[in-house]
Symmetry: C2
Subunit: 171 residues, 2 copies
Amino acid sequence: MQHIFFTTYIKILTVIRMAEKIEHYTDSIHYELEQTSRLMKMLGKQLFEKLEIGITMDEYAALDTISINAGICQRDLAKILIKDRANTGRILDTLEQKGFITRFIDTKNNRLVKKMGITEKGYKELNFINKKIRHYFESVTHKVPEETWNKVQSVLKAFRLELEQMVETNI
Amino acid sequence: MQHIFFTTYIKILTVIRMAEKIEHYTDSIHYELEQTSRLMKMLGKQLFEKLEIGITMDEYAALDTISINAGICQRDLAKILIKDRANTGRILDTLEQKGFITRFIDTKNNRLVKKMGITEKGYKELNFINKKIRHYFESVTHKVPEETWNKVQSVLKAFRLELEQMVETNI
DNA sequence: AAAAATATGTTGCATTTACAACAATATTAT
DNA sequence: ATAATATTGTTGTAAATGCAACATATTTTT
C-alpha cells in the first residue's frame, strides 16, 4: 500500500522536474566547445613536451600560418591568429630569434609595416613537426569517421563566421 | 607560342604542388575547435560586460555545475571544470564571498573535504543570468538547425571522452 | 594648413592561469 | 609499528594573456 504513495510521489516529482527543467549552460554547445578545446590544447602541449619539440603550439600555429601567407604583416597575422598585436609580436620575436622566420620592413597602403616570411630552416622545422605529430593527432580522431569530421568542421566554420561578425576584436 | 610553354609550366607547378601538398595544422579540426572556442569565449565575456553581469563566465560555469551537483567537494568540481585545484578554490572564494554558494566541512572516504552547495541567492542569480543571456546565445547559433547542433554536440562529446583518456590532468 | 582620426608596432602593467611546494590527514607497504 | 604513498586544499611564484598607453607615420576632416 505504501509503495503506491511512494510511486505517486516520484511521479509528481518527475513532473515538477520536467516543468522547471532549465537549460544548463554547461549542457550547451558553447560550453562543450570550450571544454573540448581546452582538453585538446592540454593534449597538444603534453605531446609537444613529450616529443621534445622546441616551440610552443602557438608558435607552431603562427609558423604554419606564415608558411601559407608569405609576406604577411604583423597586424594581419594577428587577425588570423585572433591574438592581440602585442602577443603576436612577441611570438614573432621568438620565431625570428630561433631562425624560423625573417622579418623585413616594407610598405602596405603607403605605411611602413613589418612583413615576414618563413625561412628554409623554419620550413624544415614545420615539416619535421608535422611528421612527428601526425600519428598522434590522428589517433585521437580516428574513432569518428572522416566524413563526420568534415561535416562538423564545416558547421564550425559557418559558426565561426557568424561569431566573427558579432565579436569586437580590436586587433 | 610562348603561352604554351607558360601553360605547361603552370601545369607542372600545379602537379608539384599537389604532390607535396601538406595538411596544414591550421586546417585541422583541432585548430578549428580552438579558434571557434576562443571567439565564443570573447563573445561571452563581452556579453557579460555589456549586460553588467557581476560575475565572470568561469564563475558562472562553476555556479551552474554546483547547482547540478549539490554537495560536491572542491577536487571533484575541479575535475568537472577541468581546472586545477588552486584556481577552483579561488573561484569558489569569490562565489562564497558574493553569497552565491555556501561551503561546509564534511568527510568523503574518511577524509575531511570542503563540500558546497548553491544558496537561494545563487540560484536566483543563476536563473537571472540564464534569462538575460539566452536570447543572445541563441542568436549566434540560430542559423544552423538545432538538429545539426545536436549531432555536432554528440560528436564532440564522444571526442571529449577520447581526449579525457589521453590527457594527464593531474587534478 | 592645422587638427583630428587612423594604422602599425612596441612597452608596461594587471589579470589569469598553470605549476610546484607545502600542510594536514588517511591509507598502504615494509 | 614505522615509513612510504595518496588525498585534499592552500599558498607562492612564474609564465601567459589581454589591455591600455605610447611612438611614429599617414590619411582624413575642418
